[in-house]
């Protein structure tokens, strides 16, 4: 019964084994050619590209992570450098203050010594000048007295006059 139906369908629609196998063979060739030379290579390229994109994304993620870590490290280094600089500045300020204090004291001492020395020099100069003036004055008194008295003064007179003049000048 089934065989009869199949035979009837076969004869009506022209289905025979040789024709069927020929069509099957041709489609299998088409399937092989398309798989081997079209879809295979395209799928391979698509897969390769997908892998590259994934790798790229992974690399980008990695770089982003490394960048974030580097940023953290940079911030840390910067913070540490700031702290160190602050400490250095503080030390430097203290050193400067101490140095300037020392220099100030040294300068004050030196200036006091200079003033003292100047004062001493002025005093010795003044004494020298006073002695000079005294000598000149005594000499002048002796010369004047000799002129007024009209005579030549003896060494005794000169000594006495000199002592008197010195006494008056000292008073």
């Amino acid at each position: 019964m089934i065989q009869q139906i199949l035979d009837q369908i076969g004869s009506s629609f022209g289905v025979t084994w040789p024709k069927f196998i020929a069509q099957l063979f041709l489609f299998l060739i088409a399937y092989f050619v398309l798989s081997r030379y079209a879809f295979g290579p395209i799928m391979k390229i698509l897969e390769e590209r997908r892998k590259r994109i994934e790798e790229g994304q992974l690399n980008a993620e990695k770089i982003k992570k490394q960048l974030a870590e580097a940023e953290l490290r940079y911030q840390e280094v910067l913070r540490k450098a700031n702290d160190d600089a602050q400490v250095l500045l503080e030390e430097s300020r203290k050193n400067t203050e101490a140095f300037s204090q020392r220099e100030m004291e040294k300068a004050v001492k030196e200036s006091a010594a200079i003033v003292e020395r100047a004062r001493h020099e002025i005093a010795s100069e003044r004494n020298r000048m006073v002695d000079e003036v005294k000598r000149e004055m005594v000499s002048l008194v002796i010369k004047t007295t000799a002129k007024v008295a009209g005579r030549v003064l003896t060494p005794e007179d000169q000594r006495r006059l000199s002592e008197e003049a010195a006494k008056d000048l000292a008073a």
Binding site: G14, V15, P18, K19, L26, Y31, F39, I42
Partner: protein, 282 residues
């Protein structure tokens, strides 16, 4: 106006061999097989032209081809999953491309209309030189045979015979207890229906494609000969034979595409049903 019953049935159901070959050892070489060989040649030529210099960074032509393949690949992958798509995609894409080109090959001028008259059993018959590939049941049966064989192979490979039988006849939904006494016979019956539906698939696939394309050829043939069939004057018949078929050409282009799509989508669904389980695993 009354038309005779055979008004539309003016194309042969079967592919035919040329008269001089019919009784020779090349009697299997039909006009449909000739068109299949031409379609195959075109496919080989197009494929080699497009994929001769494949590059990771594609040119314009390769980019266009890749966009189509990638789109189709993505659609298949969303249904079958990555693992099964890698196995089945070449077959599915080949089926779609081959059926589409085979369907459209029947629309070229000359296919079905250029041939010769000969006398057979005392009657004058017209044998066309070329006949649409998918308008031959041998071709659609061959497509189905390849598809269903690979479907069965992948099902056994991925699911395994025991799991496949369990999937067909087993009680679904994780039911336990006395209720199984009622459910087991019910699911056995459903399993038998499932087996019948699987056995019917090759017939439905092959006859659907053959029927649609064959009907399309009949329709086109009828539209081209509409003037003669309505017994209009010859000059009007000539004009009608050019003008009337034009909209039907567009319809047949659409039908050819849709039939290729339907065949491929049904194969995707069949593979999905037998290889992807309820929990989405393979």
């Amino acid at each position: 106006m009354v038309f005779p019953l055979n008004f539309l049935a003016n194309a042969e159901l079967a592919a035919e061999s040329p008269g001089f070959l019919r009784d020779s050892f090349l009697g299997w070489f039909t006009n449909s097989i000739l068109v299949t060989a031409i379609v195959l040649g075109v496919i080989v030529w197009v494929v080699r032209s497009c994929t001769r210099n494949m590059q990771v960074i594609p040119g314009r032509g390769q980019n266009f081809l890749e966009a189509i393949v990638e789109g189709f690949y993505g659609s298949v992958e969303s249904i079958l999953g990555h693992k099964m798509t890698v196995k089945a995609f070449p077959l599915l894409a080949s089926l779609f491309l081959f059926i589409c080109m085979a369907d459209w090959s029947g629309l070229f001028p000359g296919v079905g209309s250029i041939g010769w008259f000969h006398t057979h059993n005392g009657e004058t018959e017209f044998t066309p030189l070329l006949r649409g590939t998918t308008a031959d049941l041998n071709m659609t049966l061959a497509l189905t045979a390849v598809s269903m064989t690979l479907w069965f192979y992948w099902t056994m490979q991925v699911t395994g015979p025991v799991a496949f039988i369990k999937e067909l006849f087993g009680v679904k939904g994780g039911m336990t207890g006395p209720i199984l006494l009622f459910l087991v016979p019910l699911f056995l019956f459903i399993g038998v229906l499932e087996v019948v539906s699987i056995l019917v698939r090759p017939i439905s696939l092959s006859f659907r494609l053959y029927g649609n394309v064959s009907a399309g050829e009949n329709l086109m043939s009828t539209m081209i000969n509409i003037g003669n069939l309505l017994h209009t004057p010859q000059w009007l018949s000539n004009i009608l034979s050019v003008i009337v078929p034009i909209p039907f050409y567009f319809l047949e282009i659409l039908v050819g595409f849709l039939q290729a799509m339907i065949f491929t989508v049904l194969m995707i669904v069949y593979i999905q049903l037998s290889t992807v389980h309820e929990d989405g695993s393979h």
